[in-house]
């Protein structure tokens, strides 16, 4: 999706070729004047984007200063990499980094494999009505807020009357209810599971669209050759959506470390902080809430830099392997 950068959109040749040529004869300002409405319609938003997306980058300087809110920029004291050193010497930082990486890798693998699997199985459903119904229902959790989902998950996993514990007890898999939400060792699985529950249906949309693009004759031919449904899925459907899969994989690797913190914030509690705290949450708790703006910004910068490195590495590997690029 994010590959919709300017160069990827094919233009209808005629217009593109003629229009700029006609304009080139005029001067810069007369073109501006002539296109004044186009400028009026876009420039305000460009300024907007500059203020709300680019200006915060200026705030990164805070990480290198002993930032005090009351002082103006020129009065701030520069401290170099002091806060980064502090960060890298903090044991809590490594714990938080471990949590972030653990949950992002688990999320990456499951959030990537499960939708493919689900899309392929959906595609194999024969009743059109049933298929549409399953699709509609599976998109539903995507539209519900994390606040609600966290509430629902907490309820389903609760020790008094939670559905999961009741099923486990009915099957005699456990004698007494498991305290899922109170044990740190469960936390990563709960977060990953909630994510799969919420987003799997939604993430199938793109795969299903890609599957529609596969030539139906391939299936016909393989059926004549006596291929079973499993073989068709493995040899036709999966290879047919290979390029979609790899683009989405690279994109999710780029977002690996910026997993957000909503889930962890909402599902976590005091008993599991050693497992639930992720980088953003750490920046919130130890930076913003304690008024240590510089330290919090340093955490944020570390987060962004790691994301960008991951994105470029993933894209680089992808380019080598397939000779394509998504950026």
């Amino acid at each position: 999706m994010e590959a919709l950068t300017p160069n990827t959109i094919p233009r209808s040749g005629q217009d593109t070729a003629k229009a700029p040529k006609r304009k080139r004869k005029r001067g810069f300002w007369s073109t501006v004047l002539q296109q004044k409405y186009l400028y009026l319609m876009s420039l305000p938003f460009v300024i907007w984007v500059f203020v709300f997306s680019y200006l915060p980058l200026w705030g990164w300087t805070m990480a290198f200063q002993n930032y005090k809110p009351a002082r103006s920029f020129s009065e701030q004291k520069w401290v170099g990499f002091k806060y980064f050193q502090e960060l890298f010497q903090d044991d809590r930082f490594y714990l938080v980094l471990r949590n972030t990486l653990a949950m992002s890798f688990m999320g990456l693998i499951l959030g990537f494999v499960v939708p493919i699997f689900f899309a392929i199985l959906l595609n194999e459903l024969r009743g059109m009505f049933f298929k549409r119904f399953v699709q509609t229902v599976s998109y539903l959790p995507h539209f519900v807020s994390w606040v609600v989902v966290a509430g629902i998950i907490t309820k389903m996993l609760s020790i008094d009357g939670g559905a999961v514990n009741q099923i486990l007890m009915a099957l005699h898999l456990t004698d007494e209810p498991i305290q899922f939400m109170a044990k740190g060792s469960w936390f990563w699985y709960i977060v990953t599971g909630s994510d799969v529950w919420k987003e799997t249906g939604w993430n199938t949309i793109i795969y299903l669209a890609a599957i529609t693009g596969i030539d139906p004759e391939l299936y016909e031919a393989s059926r004549v050759d006596g291929a079973s449904r499993w073989r068709q899925m493995w040899h036709i459907t999966l290879p047919g959506i290979r390029s979609t899969i790899s683009v989405l994989l690279i994109m999710s690797i780029g977002h690996l470390i910026s997993i957000g913190f909503e889930k962890q914030f909402l599902l976590g509690n005091n008993l599991v902080t050693d497992y639930s705290e992720v980088l953003d949450l750490y920046a919130l708790n130890y930076g913003l809430n304690m008024g240590r703006f510089s330290y919090g910004t340093a955490i944020g910068i570390f987060n962004s830099v790691v994301s960008i490195i991951l994105l470029f590495t993933a894209n680089g590997i992808f380019k080598k392997v397939t000779k394509e690029s998504i950026m």
Binding site: M1, L57, L121, V144, N269, G296
Partner: protein
């Protein structure tokens, strides 16, 4: 479909049956929690404590809803949530479609610049604290506008609309131009009406995003009851009684409600928060599916 079943073997049939069973389990796993929440919200709060409510209320009542709607904070939150949803969606639609139109014009001088400038924002963000400092410097903290203004222009939405406009015949614009229409008129009279399907998709994304967000309220308006939102109030009620603690700024309302009967109240608010989305989204499904696909197929 007959043509598919012309040589259905036994293993194919077993596969189909397993697949249907699997999908049925998926349906149950997805729907049960919602039905359970609904049933509890409609069940007498004292009866609920006995446990065992599944998908049908045992002692039917609307009392829980009456209780929560008697709280001013919640009503205020509902009002603000609706307001931010409408304002956010309308402004977001206008900005995305206007920008998308200018970017779709091959002759627009600044096209490349604007497009790159916008695309860059998809790959980085300033982060939590610089964002907070910016809002503070712009005096947006403690106002309603902090919900709407920061996310007004979304590069992703602009590019979705643009690829839709690119698919429209250019001749339409040319002929309007010959009739003496200016660029804004072309956008307003010709492009906007034709973009209805893609605008419906974007409107859904924007509205759901606005309706569901709670963190901006927590961060910028946490102690400001005037601009509280429904999601934030729900978050407070849920967190204040969650096992293991974790109460965050639980105000009086949250505490009071928790004392009455945490379970029923929580579930009733959850339903109030969820229902608007459940009502709207099946109708818009065909739009958002095509919108998502529009973005994906290009890449």
């Amino acid at each position: 479909m007959p043509n598919k079943a012309f040589n259905a073997t036994r293993s194919d049939k077993i596969f189909d049956i397993c697949n249907i069973i699997f999908m049925a389990i998926v349906l149950i796993v997805t729907l049960y929690p919602f039905l359970n929440v609904l049933a509890i919200s409609l069940n007498d709060s004292i009866d609920t404590v006995r446990g065992g409510i599944t998908i049908w209320p045992r002692a039917f009542t609307f009392e829980n809803y009456k209780t929560i709607f008697a709280y001013d904070t919640l009503l205020q939150g509902l009002k603000i949530s609706i307001l931010r949803t409408i304002v956010g969606a309308v402004l977001g639609l206008l900005s995305a479609s206007m920008l998308a139109y200018t970017l779709s014009r091959p002759d627009f001088q600044a096209r490349k610049f604007v497009s790159t400038f916008l695309a860059m924002t998809m790959y980085f963000s300033g982060g939590l604290i610089p964002g907070y400092i910016l809002m503070r410097d712009l005096n947006l903290i403690g106002t309603f506008w902090v919900y709407v203004l920061p996310g007004l222009v979304s590069a992703f939405n602009v590019f979705i609309v643009r690829s839709f406009i690119d698919g429209l015949p250019y001749a339409l614009q040319e002929s309007a131009k010959l009739d003496g229409a200016n660029d804004f008129t072309v956008y307003w009279r010709i492009i906007l009406p034709l973009c209805k399907p893609v605008l419906a998709t974007i409107a859904l994304f924007l509205a759901v995003g606005q309706w569901n967000s709670w963190f901006d309220t927590y961060l910028y308006n946490g102690s400001n009851a005037t601009w509280t939102t429904l999601q934030y109030e729900l978050m407070k009620v849920l967190q204040s009684t969650q096992q293991g603690g974790g109460a965050i700024n639980a105000n009086d309302m949250a505490k009071q409600m928790a004392q009455i009967s945490p379970e029923s109240i929580k579930m009733a608010i959850t339903i109030v928060v969820t229902v608007p989305i459940l009502i709207v989204y099946p109708f818009l499904q065909k739009y958002f599916v095509s919108g998502m696909t529009l973005g994906a197929v290009k890449s």
